[in-house]
Symmetry: C2
Subunit: 462 residues, 2 copies
């Protein structure tokens, strides 16, 4: 007889009522009296525990009583329907075998731990309710994303992680090298990169967008889903040095198509996770953010707002007394403004489009006013910016002009310019920070708590 996983049992418990089963898992709690005891068992395949009842008829009853929290056991027994009880069913054990003990120093005893403390034991925190739910939702959301794009025929692209060009200028990059730093060779006071692995300086990517454009202009619809990096010394609850990003890129598509895709995607992910992670989402709604379901339902049932930067500034200016940073035309929109727009003005997600060219990247398409570019940011209640994207500048001359103006090296991006020479049709795309999405889906407030092993300044443990 093979062990049955909890996710199977909880899917169709009635299939197992009155039947003998074998289960295996880890002891979450154990309490006993002289003649019987209870074990809350979790096998990792489902959020909920199964209650095991054991009695002194077990040949190893005295041994079982002493099993410690965290131990791994196998249980053979009868699965009994228990209507009216706290749990729908329990297992009456006829055999319990210790598979692996747990030292009494095990930190996950019954008491509640702070998220801060749990970060220091990131190798054990997935065994807690909160982080079990977080990483399961993370996994579900990742699958939802792949499924969404797969259904629409998007080709999943893997842009390079190591790159020789600081192309986007999106932020500080980590350097990658195979040189012996204790014994560097210099030429004219500069490191001799001809000796390095790639024969020139190389970095960790900050975005796969430029390469995604290559794929979009071959496959029409493409997306990336992979790690990206920022060597920025910022210690906020929203920034990590290593995070995952989703970057769809679509050809024969303008900014409106881009916004539609983003809206469809967000709604698809929420629906998928709500349906396939019911237990986990209920946990978050009960214990992390009591407004979570209301918030997500509101997203599902809204048509996202659309507003231009010009309009947004007009609205915000009238409320400048409410902000730490008053806005005027030309300033970037800060988190406080983003939240004000999406929470107070729209009460739902809203796209802000057509930002001043000065505050956006070189590759965004110039609008006819020659002052703004076809950018779009999706602002959502309680988070702020969730998605940033644009229609790309497909006109070679205008692109080169912007690169010159903004000091982007054209030599390095010869291939990016080439795309404009050969069938460089209009195309658009956006980036979604995966961890921000998970924070949004779960209500968790710190990016360190939605990454399995977060990398931040001075922290690369595990």
């Amino acid at each position: 007889m093979k062990a049955i996983e909890f996710r199977e049992i909880f899917k169709f418990p009635e299939n197992y009522y009155g039947k003998e089963v074998i289960v295996e898992g880890w002891i979450r709690t154990i309490r006993d009296s002289k003649n019987f005891g209870f074990i809350e068992l979790n096998d990792g395949t489902y959020m909920k525990n199964v209650q095991i009842v054991f009695e002194n008829i077990l040949s190893n009853f005295e041994e079982v009583r002493k099993f410690s929290t965290g131990s791994a056991i196998t249980v053979k027994g009868m699965l009994e329907h228990t209507p009216g009880a706290k749990q729908l069913f329990e297992i009456k054990a006829t055999e319990i075998t210790l598979e692996a003990g747990s030292d009494s120093s095990y930190p996950l005893q019954k008491k509640r731990h702070s998220f801060e403390y749990l970060r220091t034991i990131a190798h054990l925190r997935p065994r807690t309710n909160t982080f079990s739910a977080v990483f399961r939702v993370r996994s579900l959301a990742a699958f939802a994303i792949h499924k969404f794009f797969n259904e629409r025929g998007f080709v999943y692209a893997h842009p390079p992680i190591i790159t020789a060009s600081d192309a986007e200028g999106a932020g500080e990059m980590f350097k990658v090298t195979s040189l012996d730093l204790d014994n560097l060779e210099y030429v004219d006071g500069k490191v001799d990169y001809t000796k390095d692995f790639f024969g020139k300086p190389s970095n960790l990517t900050v975005s796969g967008q430029l390469e995604a454009e290559i794929f979009a202009l071959a496959f029409k619809n493409t997306y990336t889903f992979g790690p990206t990096f920022r060597a920025e010394n910022s210690n906020t609850t929203r920034h990590a040095s290593e995070f995952w990003m989703i970057e769809p890129e679509i050809a024969f598509a303008d900014l409106n198509d881009n916004m539609q895709l983003a809206e469809d995607m967000i709604k698809y992910i929420i629906e998928y996770v709500m349906e396939n992670g019911k237990e986990e989402m209920e946990f978050f709604n009960s214990f992390v953010d009591k407004e979570l379901f209301a918030k997500l339902d509101n997203v599902l049932n809204s048509d996202f707002g659309r507003i231009t930067y010009n309009e947004a500034i007009e609205i915000l200016k009238k409320n400048n007394d409410k902000f730490d940073y008053p806005v005027e035309w030309g300033t970037d929109i800060q988190t406080e403004h983003e939240r004000y727009l999406s929470e107070k003005i729209f009460g739902k997600p809203v796209f802000v489009t057509n930002y001043p060219k000065e505050i956006k990247a070189f590759y965004m398409r110039m609008n006819d006013d020659n002052k703004t570019v076809a950018a779009m940011d999706l602002l959502v209640p309680s988070i702020g910016e969730l998605i940033g994207g644009s229609q790309r500048e497909e006109r070679l001359e205008l692109l080169e002009k912007r690169m010159d103006e903004m000091g982007v090296a054209k030599e390095d991006l010869w291939w990016y310019l080439d795309l404009r020479k050969y069938g460089g049709v209009k195309h658009s795309g956006y980036g979604l920070g995966f961890e921000r999405l998970i924070m949004y889906l779960t209500g968790m407030g710190n990016i360190r708590d939605v990454l399995p092993f977060p990398r931040t300044p001075n922290n690369a443990e595990f």
Copy 2:
């Protein structure tokens, strides 16, 4: 009226017979005579082209005649069933609009290009038949993998890419730093890493396995799918410095469970890709490897062989005259031996298990003979090793002993040892090199041709 994607048209062409459609795409070829012409159009969403017929009734007929290969166009016209013709249907254009021209320097003219040359234009090669098929199969295989594990309830884990420990000792690692290499600060002749981003030396991961074990001992079943790195100066057709790896890890599972999972997974992926990438796979079978279908069918219809290292050595020794590197007990099995076993002896994939401890990693479970460890390699015809895995050493004392013997720093891996203290039940896992899998599925012979933008010594272009 919206443009219809080719993947839709080819799915149910009969839905469109005799109907007016709009399509958009890039010109693969164009030929014309005085009164009419033909365009082979590809829109990127499907492997095949659609033939566009245009006649001199078009108001811009003279213009259209001059459209160049690679240009992007929109076509309005009647989709006509053409039984008996080379293609099942064609579109008779009533309107053709140029969306983006293509310079006459476009390198993808009709002539055939070598794979070597196409690598130098990796930004354009996805537009060729071969690479369109390669990257589409790559995308399908990735989805198949996520789908396979999702159906079995595996949690998708994201282990860190930047890591502070050279844990596995699996090979040369790339260093990651934010220090200014032109102005390094030294203490006692060594680089002062306290000034570095993470406060200590850090590297790019060579494997997410050790962190996957964390997840397996919380969720029972987990897998990773992400980039890994090797700073090895090897210029072979099978090695790249940056590649993607899939690493499942399962708890309450021994080496037999591990082999079963690997076999199920390989068969699942092949079936999925054969079914969802018919055109692409037929292309490979016709133009890249005429034995491809026979080979893959054989895998689908076989129970994979299972043989111990001891048995393998006995067989190979009898054939030592056939090898460049004769084997004896204790030597590693080279590609020539791997292929001999899977091709000549078994004629199908075969697992070799229980290798001498000296040639395997510290974390593999010691067998009772104290000479071999519970390792498994999956060898497949024409490729050699496709998968490497093991049951992990879950016994703390034995693990520490092996780490001491092999010089693995225990301080760095305190958390890995912790896993053995707290419910460290038996568990197993393996690694599958994604690019090797794609080579196997497509018959492509060089890893540089299954990676969108390969990284190899002295090559980080694009």
